[in-house]
Amino acid sequence: MFYKNKMTLITDLTTSCSPTWCPGCGDFAIWAAFKNAAVAQDWNNLNTVLTAGIGCHGHLLNYVKIASVEGLHGRAIPLATGIKMANSRLNVFVFTGDGDSLAEGGNHFINACRRNHDITVILHDNAIYALTTGQTSPRSPHGFKSKSTPSGNIDEPISPVSLAIASGATFVAREYASHIPQLSELIVKANDHKGIAIIDVLQPCVSFSDLYTHDFYQQNTYYLSKDYDATNQTKAFEKSLEWGEKQIPLGIFYQVEKPSYEDQIIQIAQRPLVDKPPTKKDLSEIFKKYS
């Protein structure tokens, strides 16, 4: 991984809070991967903002000393896009979950993808609602037994990778949380990408699900081959539908260069909106149109 400089140290990112995640939770690995990427890329309080929705993932903001916004369940994406439009110079990260962005915030997920806002979305995908102690999520498979589906889940799951590709996202990838170095590298690539980057991060829920365990992911994931063409949207979509024994692809499914949403706003072509304080405007020209 490319280290920009040593301005930001890992200790600079340390806060006074200790994680409250369950031992073995994938969130620890995502946290570590993000901090490593932040140190490598010198993401700090001068250039970066973090946002999160509600779920176990959201606690992460308490453990990284970079200015952040803990929003509402499902609403981290519109918050983040508002921040990005106002200050396009910031690296804007969204930490979200499968319940957060595929159920409650599904509409925002789809629309942010099609608009290609220049933000990075890290989707903590544990296929269950954990913070509310174990109900079925939009990622839980058909037949999945949980507190909300004691006789088995009737709903079919949805893949955030397929949804993102179909919605027009320009960078769509998947990793397994415990591949920490690879995930760090992917987060850096996602942030470097101009436009929206979606990373589906597979992680087990050690307390409420014995379906998608660390063992499961270690045995059933594989990396997309070196000759895989990530610029073909149709092929990428087809690949994204793959899921099963030894059949879970990891890596960048899809990446294309397109102008980001923010690149196309004339008002911020020269400098971010917030570089200047609000100023009182003279309306005398407009008033003439009303007389």
Binding site: V69, L79, G82, N107, V274
Partner: protein, 573 residues
């Protein structure tokens, strides 16, 4: 009205016939002649077909409200005659297309009929059927004694950007109507639209215009607004002016995204707003609490329309007051203002941005359809006395930054991501830096800090209501929002009646309201809702119970005539 000479002209036709645009042309002609105007329109939630009406009231003095009857009609469809039968004034004039076989038999009043070949004159000018309205307006201004040139000049100003040909065709259509009228009905010409001795330059605006212009003037930097009647014109004005003034307007996927985007932009340091109607506000409710909990400034406009669910999209109501006062779970401070006319909408919107910044909490501005879409003439808005106040705010790196630091006035220093300052803008209850906290001392101190801001606001701002009319009166009307216009219009006939107009709903000016109301001989509370919500609020805040509640909830505004009758019946008791 008995004490004011008001001339009323109505144009009725189908949606898509340019009814409202024609009415606005007349309003501007009258304004350029030094008159005051008020326009009132009625239309269903349709784009084509259906019935549209605009009434333009013209007077030498300021006009505040519509009237129940009309002196002069341009009828472009049979429905105008059917729907508005009761509004045809005795000896009124009616312009209509002689080629159409309208049935006038149901009008049992004396009427001056002006059959005009509108379609033919329109085609002669090289225009389409839709330009019949321009021909008809040419006829009307001829019959009312106005100068054609002033109409032609206006058409140039209005259509100049659409090219020379468009201007030429419109001017010819106007001229054809004007000439035809003078050739055939010269003896019926009246001297109504004459130029006043003093002509002050005025604007013709509604509250949607006023909110958008007020926001721009106040330094708006970001707006996310999902379209909804009756406030969509706010976003149209913002969208078309964003590049000129350097702010961003974004159309979001829904109202939830609208308020969250605006909060995000505000957190990043941009002056931000959103706008909606009651149904959209319902979706924004969770965002309102987020702004309050994270102490993020945000201005939210609620343009009220009647009814729950989809209700009556194109009609007016005042049912949202309690909704915006209480929306969201838990306790948090909010500032709620209500505008009574476009002028108030302009100044309250400007003020709302400063209040949001100073008190770092949501500010809701209520307007209602009755002012959102009814244009009035008024002097150019004056922004000379306005200064942007961002309150306690820094973009500089602070030595020991605590975003939610406790303070006597409840307000802490606000900063932005990228400034070097670390903080968590946290929707969870939090300690001073923003970390999650469930400690009793943090819960209590942060709640108390937030709520103290409202006390600080009440102490620092002038929240008092305005009393119109004599200090002492036999009857006092108390009301809010767009009822102001019809009340002030009605008051012209009652020197012994005054009006208490409230613009601050939270923090509520309890002492000032009690001081006025406890001295009143007789109080009428007037509102456009079923439950008399303001009367309830007054009782809650002042202990004063108002028993005479004059209410209307049919989507139509109060007409001055109705208030007039009500006052007469009360005064006769």
């Amino acid at each position: 009205m008995e004490n004011q000479d008001i001339f009323r002209l109505s144009i009725g036709g189908q949606a898509g016939q340019g009814i409202k645009a024609t009415g606005l042309l007349l309003a501007k002609i009258a304004t350029r002649l030094g008159k005051h105007v008020y326009t009132y329109s009625e239309f269903p939630s349709l784009i084509k077909g259906g019935h549209n009406l605009i009434q333009v009231s013209i007077s030498k003095e300021q006009v505040f409200a519509p009237s129940k009857s009309t002196d002069f009609w341009i009828t472009l469809d049979q429905n105008t005659l059917n729907v508005h039968l009761a509004e045809f004034q005795d000896s009124c004039s009616i312009i209509f297309d002689e080629e159409k076989n309208y049935d006038f038999t149901r009008i049992n009043k004396k009427a001056n009929l002006f059959p005009i070949p509108l379609s033919k004159l329109s085609k002669d000018a090289g225009g389409s059927q839709i330009m019949s309205n321009t021909v008809a307006l040419g006829v009307a201004i001829a019959l009312l004694g106005a100068d054609l040139q002033i109409f032609k000049d206006l058409l140039l100003d209005e259509f100049g950007s659409k090219g020379e040909e468009t201007v030429k065709v419109n001017q010819l259509a106007a001229q054809n109507g004007y000439t035809y009228a003078l050739e055939h009905f010269a003896e019926k010409k009246k001297n109504i639209l004459f130029k006043e001795d003093v002509v002050e330059q005025k604007i013709v605006v509604n509250a949607n215009d006023a909110v958008a212009l007020g926001a721009i003037a106040a330094g708006l930097q970001f707006a996310a607004i999902y379209p909804m009647s009756p406030i969509s014109n706010i976003l149209h004005i913002l969208a078309s002016n964003q590049e000129k003034f350097g702010f961003i307007y974004k159309q979001p996927e829904d109202e939830i995204a609208a308020i969250n985007m605006a909060i995000g932009a505000s957190l990043a340091g941009a002056r931000s707003m959103t706008a909606t109607s009651g149904g959209g506000f319902g979706l924004m409710v969770e965002g309102l609490g987020l702004a309050a909990m994270t102490e993020t400034p945000i201005v939210v406009i609620d343009g009220m329309r009647p009814g729950p669910a989809t209700g009556l999209p194109t009609w007016s109501g005042q049912g949202d007051l309690r909704f915006v006062l209480h929306a969201h779970q838990g306790d948090f401070p909010r500032i709620v203002l209500a505008a009574g006319d476009p002028l108030e909408a302009f100044y309250l919107t400007m003020q709302a941005f400063n209040l949001a910044d100073k008190y770092q909490t949501p500010v809701i501005v209520l307007i209602d359809k009755n002012i959102c879409e009814h244009d009035q003439s008024m002097p150019f808005f004056d922004t000379a006395n306005y200064a942007i106040d961002q309150g306690k705010f820094t973009t500089e790196k602070e030595a020991e930054f605590e975003r939610y630091k406790l303070s006597a006035d409840g307000i802490s220093l606000r900063s932005i991501p990228g400034s070097g300052n670390f903080f968590i803008a946290n929707s969870y209850e939090h300690a001073t830096i923003g970390y999650d906290s469930e400690e009793i001392k943090d819960i209590n101190s942060q709640m108390s800090k937030r709520m103290t801001k409202l006390v600080t606001c009440a102490a620092n701002e002038d929240t008092s209501p305005k009393l119109y009319g004599p200090q002492n009166a036999d009857v006092t009307i108390v009301s809010w929002g767009s009822n102001k216009g019809s009340i002030l219009q009605a008051l012209k006939d009652f020197p012994n009646v005054n009006y208490l107009h409230l613009t601050w709903m939270s923090p509520f000016p309890d002492k000032a309201v009690r001081a006025v109301l406890e001295k009143c001989k007789y109080i009428i509370n007037l509102e456009c809702n079923y439950s008399a919500v303001l009367a309830g609020l007054i009782k809650e805040k002042t202990g004063i119970e108002i028993t005479d509640n004059f209410l209307k909830y049919d989507g139509r505004p109060f007409f001055p005539e109705e208030i007039n009758e009500k006052l007469k019946s009360v005064l006769q008791k």
